[in-house]
């Protein structure tokens, strides 16, 4: 009898347990997963994505667990940029990471009617490229990492390492904002330093190849602007330059490390990728891209000693001491 009476309260206790369980489950909550679409046109800049992923991992976004990247490799064919960007939009990604200015512009066009945020890295002049209103207040759905126009300083470094330089060969795509802007600064610096720039416009890969095959004899060095088109043939260019015993200056450290460009003074792609990751994180945390100031990437001096040796160039210890990256 008494046992029976106790059993009567069993449902009450069970009910309490269930309620407690439900509350705990509600508190635990499910972790949101994100999808990031990546659009890039320069294979060498994939290291930016590597940096981005590292940054995201540090911030707690583990690929395969709570974040997925949609990236089918660099879209070398510029004509396909828009469709790739639209594809990402169609895939309803949470954020688009655009690498390079044309890629960002394609993303901008594709997301014009959506609220998918876009984080670019790097874009030389996001204001000039019409991506943001200002660096402090981007205003739209786009923010990212830019870098100061350091081409003057890069030229100084080149001249400092190879003081004999008088004429520099510069193939570039006049249809890309970045090299055009860089060239302006560079021209000013060249004047100060007393060097002459031999520019060669290229608009497609064929023209790039032509430019590589036709390096002028008077050129004392080859200067690569932040030009995604030219960057795609960086290896060929370096090969050609090495043959001609010409020093080369690249627009980023990756070309020094990967393609044997002699020096670069440019933003680090890994670090800028991490910067972009921080921005993406903030966007995921609810801050609108419009309120996220465009960050500026840091510059690093990179020197490839192998290449230096290959072209018979001796680089002083004084300079090497200042280098951030040395490829030995």
């Amino acid at each position: 009898m008494k046992h029976k009476q106790q059993l009567k309260y069993l449902p009450i206790f069970i009910g309490l347990f269930i309620i407690t369980g439900l509350l705990l489950a509600a508190c635990g909550g499910g972790q949101k997963t994100y999808t990031i679409g990546v659009i890039n046109i320069v294979p060498v800049l994939d290291s930016t994505l590597v940096g981005f992923k590292e940054g995201m991992t540090e911030l707690g976004y583990i690929e395969g667990e709570n974040i997925t990247y949609v990236y089918e490799g660099a879209t070398v064919d510029m004509g396909k940029l828009d469709s790739v960007a639209q594809g990402l939009v169609a895939a309803d990604v949470d954020l688009i990471l655009s690498i390079t200015t044309p890629a960002t512009q394609a993303a901008q066009r594709a997301t014009a009617t959506t609220d998918i945020p876009v984080v670019f890295v790097p874009v030389t002049d996001p204001i000039g490229a019409g991506l943001v209103d200002s660096l402090k207040q981007p205003g739209g759905n786009i923010t990212g990492v830019t870098f100061g126009i350091q081409e003057a300083r890069r030229l100084e470094w080149l001249v400092q390492i190879v003081p004999t330089i008088e004429q520099i060969y510069i193939p570039y795509n006049p249809e890309d904002q970045s090299p055009v802007l860089a060239l302006e600064t560079l021209s000013e610096a060249a004047m100060k330093l007393g060097v002459e720039l031999i520019t060669h416009e290229v608009r497609n890969l064929e023209e790039v190849m032509v430019a590589i095959e036709n390096i002028p004899e008077e050129a004392d060095a080859i200067f690569l602007l932040p030009d995604s088109l030219v960057a795609t043939r960086a290896s060929d260019l370096v090969e050609a330059a090495t043959e001609l015993q010409l020093p080369t200056s690249g627009a980023n450290a990756e070309v020094v490390k990967a393609h044997g460009v002699l020096i670069s003074y440019a933003m680090g792609q890994i670090s800028s990728g991490k910067q972009a990751a921080r921005l993406a994180d903030q966007i995921f945390q609810g801050i609108k891209p419009a309120d996220l100031p465009v960050e500026t990437a840091e510059f690093y001096l990179a020197i490839n000693l192998k290449t230096a040796e290959a072209i018979g160039l001796d680089i002083s210890d004084e300079i090497l001491l200042q280098a951030d990256i040395i490829v030995r």
């Binding site: 309260y9 830019t146 350091q150 003057a152 309120d291 100031p293 510059f299």
Partner: protein
Amino acid sequence: MRNSIRTRLTVAFIGLAIVPLLLVGAILALQSFTAEEQQALNLQREVTRRVATEVTAFFEELENELRLVSQMQMLPGLDQNEQHSILLLLMSQDVFEGLVLLDSQGQKQIHLSRLGHSSTDRGHYPEADEFVIPQTSGQVYYSPVWFEETSGEPLMTIAVPLLDVRTGLVDDILVSEVRLKKIWGLIADVQVSSGQSVYIVDSQDKVVAHRNPSVVLRDTSFAVPDQDGIQPGLTGSSVVLAVDTTRFGEQEFSIIAEQTVPEALAPAINSMYVIAAVIVVALVVASSLGFLIVRQIIRPIQTMATTAQIISTGDLSQQVEVTSRDELGILANTFNSMTTQLRTLIDSLEQRVARRTRQIETVVEVSQQLTGILDLQTLLREVVTMTKETFGYYHVHIYVLAEENKTLIMAEGYGQAGEKMKQQGHQIPLDTPASLVARAARRREIVLVNNVRQATDWLPNPLLPDTYSEMAIPIITEKKVIGVLDVQSDQVAGLDEEDKDLLRSLANHVAVAMTNAQLYQTEQELRGQEAERAQELAKLNVELQAAQAELLRQERLATLGQLTATVSHEIRNPLATIRASAFTLDRKTRDKELGVERALDRIERNITRCDNIITELLDYTRMGELKLQLILFDDWLQQVLDEQTLPEGVTLSRQLKAGVEMRLDPERFRRVIINLFDNAYQAMQETLQSDSQKQTLTMQTKVIGERLKVSITDTGPGIPPDVLPRIFEPLYSTKGFGVGLGLPVVQGIVKQHGGKIEINSEVGKGTQVLIWLSLD
């Protein structure tokens, strides 16, 4: 019910258990919260102190570097190319946005910029603070923080005066534009907890360094609070915030570490949750326990209350279910026991009432039955029987007070003991002191002794060995004791007040019944006497009538005798003359054939007949004294029969087997036989005329017992039933002749001999005459 025990208990329970629980919980939570808050604040302080140290170190290092590079290298004394090289080395630090070497006049000697292109000239140096202050004071100058236009990054100008070692005067001034972005790295390297952030605010309240560069780039301002604690943080939300300051020249930096309250106080909040959870669980458990306990307490009480209400309506069969062994269980048990007792009491009362009613009914019934009995003895017997058997006493007997000698006579008692006592004529004198019965009669009140063995005035009765208690009830009518009803029980205290009432009532009825019976008896006795007298009177009357009749008959017979004697004498004389004349005629006419013979025969025959009538008459009237002789009856009868002449066709059968001597008057009795013989002969002669069959007259004698039976049986036509009763009447005759005195004479003679005559006859078969004579 607002004032129900349940409500009060619940309130008490909440007051005693839950309120302290809540209070303790609140105090614990508050203490925990305060401790955690302090700890969180300490944590922020520690961070700010660490960052402050690092920032200070950063600036000191920078300053030292600038001094070292310039002074150790004797920068002012070198040529411009050498100066340029040294400054380039410095630039490789990447911490400087630009380096400007000014001469003592404030003229720019060398200008290096991080990105190569000519940096912004920030003014006319000879008048700018970065020149004037170091130049005049010889002290390092720290400018307010300013922001680079394009990148929006914070910069700070640090101007170091380069002194001539020999003169001690300011030679050159090295103006450096320091990128505070490098401090971001310092802050970024600080290990922070979740929700924590560290930033540096300059004198203009601008955030110059933050873990998140966006904050700085966004041109964020923050008014540094005066004291640490919980307050609105950088984002406006409530944070635990600590501030440390560090000064560089005129510039003061506030290093702020903050952590959002939910994160900072997470342990506190967690412990509060834990406490809250514990309290909630405790509350639930306490409430459940309380509920159960209250329920356990209340339920039996409610049940008891309900049961009590039901009981109050009269249903005493209700019992409270006993579910516990505590005080409530005891209470319930007691309650049940009380109810049971009450029920038993009521039941016993009801039983007593019922019994009493039944007894009263029985008394009434008994009384009614008794009232119907009018015979006193029967009444008394019934009283003891009914009292004993109806009420189941051990013994009952009844005494009747005899008025004369003042003695109580045991009139009736139950069973063998009663019978014996009655036979022994058990009685108690009224003044016997050692007698309950006598005392009851004397005092006219019921005497009850619960244990007779202990009573001094008790008379033990060997016939009633098991008597233990006894009650004597006086039977009183009209204030007079008429008897005592004595009831005994074989148990100590086997008789009580109820019996007393019962028996008193019964005794009253018995008194009435006894009175009635006595009255009836008296009346009956009177009636009996009356009837007896009437009977005697009637008998006398009959006797008188008989005597009168006899007298009349005697007179008549005497008259008849006288008349007969006179007539007989007067007629017999002429008859004798006639007979003599007739004889003479016969003798003279005999043989002369005159034809008168038949007439003469007729005369002779009628003379004989007349003579016979006269004889009969004389016989009937002359019933004088018998002349008794002792004769042998059969022989005497043989002789008489031999004398008789049997008519033709009739056979006489003699069966004379008496063989006794009789005292009788032979002459008279001869007349009996002859008369009967004649009657039979005449009857058979009638038969002979119509039937030629032979007739038999049977004569029998036989001794049966003390009597002699004489029977004369003929085979004549029999006597019709209407005639039979009258045959002994005198002068009644069916024959054409005779005077009808034959059979009355026979009857008279037989009677004179103390005998009896009977006639049995059946028409068509014959007649039997029986004479019974006593052998005495």
